[in-house]
Symmetry: C2
Subunit: 149 residues, 2 copies
Amino acid sequence: MGDEMDTARGRARDAQRRAEQFRRVRDAHQTEVAEDYVELVADLIEETGEARVVDLSERLGVTKATVNNTIQRLQRDGLVTSQPYRSIFLTEKGRTLAETSRERHHTVRDFLLALGVDADTAEADSEGIEHHVSEPTLEAFRKFLRKSG
Amino acid sequence: MGDEMDTARGRARDAQRRAEQFRRVRDAHQTEVAEDYVELVADLIEETGEARVVDLSERLGVTKATVNNTIQRLQRDGLVTSQPYRSIFLTEKGRTLAETSRERHHTVRDFLLALGVDADTAEADSEGIEHHVSEPTLEAFRKFLRKSG
DNA sequence: GTACAAATTTAGCTTCTACTAACTTTTAGT
DNA sequence: ACTAAAAGTTAGTAGAAGCTAAATTTGTAC
């Protein structure tokens, strides 16, 4: 068994490891929408007392029809409840997801701010980044915040 | 025009601003796949001399059929060229995208490493994060790297 | 309490990304 | 040169997320 084979094997292992990373990113995408929705539903309930399709539609920048579609799916997945023509509520599962999601979002945003990024950019970028930050990285962010705070 | 209206207006403006952020994240998603592919094609050409469907398939963790599909789309969008049963090449546009994409990827990865995140996590997270980091944030990352380096 | 406006829902369509299974072409071994 | 394996392609399917347009329900102003 020569070097060539070892190299080939090494490459194969490498490829599999990287494939796993891409898979994780793809999986993250599937939960991103769910996280954005439940986070927003939680915010709206706190701010205005209820979460309506039209509010989600405005804040997300998609049509009401799209919101409706997605809410159906989230209901199917046990994250929200809603009766026809009534506003939207979070299930326990939904509340938990909203909570961890929000915590992550804030950590990322505060971290970017602490790093010297301007407020608008920090808010905008954290929206995209929050879904792709693992717990170890979040912990590194928190550590930085403690030191710089 | 009382406080109530001002608040309502303020909320509407706020909603629009946030909607813009979500829109940006959604747009980023559309280019993510393209960026991952061209970056990988560039890597493979450098490492092995050519980029084949089967290699992309292995590294991305998707089937060859999926790679084929996507390559068609990238070709349609002018990022790659490929003749049937032949390996894949980047266009000038594709090379440019691969280059900026790779630079961003490395900046994010090196930044996470400098922050104390372990190598595996840095590699995995940077894969997800790289597509959502704006230029100002990247610049803040670079600045941190210069200071800590 | 009726009519109108606002909100919600439904129907039908598109694009993207993924899959499996079957097929064709190319490459490599003998 | 032939055959088998590897690589690439095609066809058909599915689900997610978006859209527009039309229908329906709810809420409100008079």
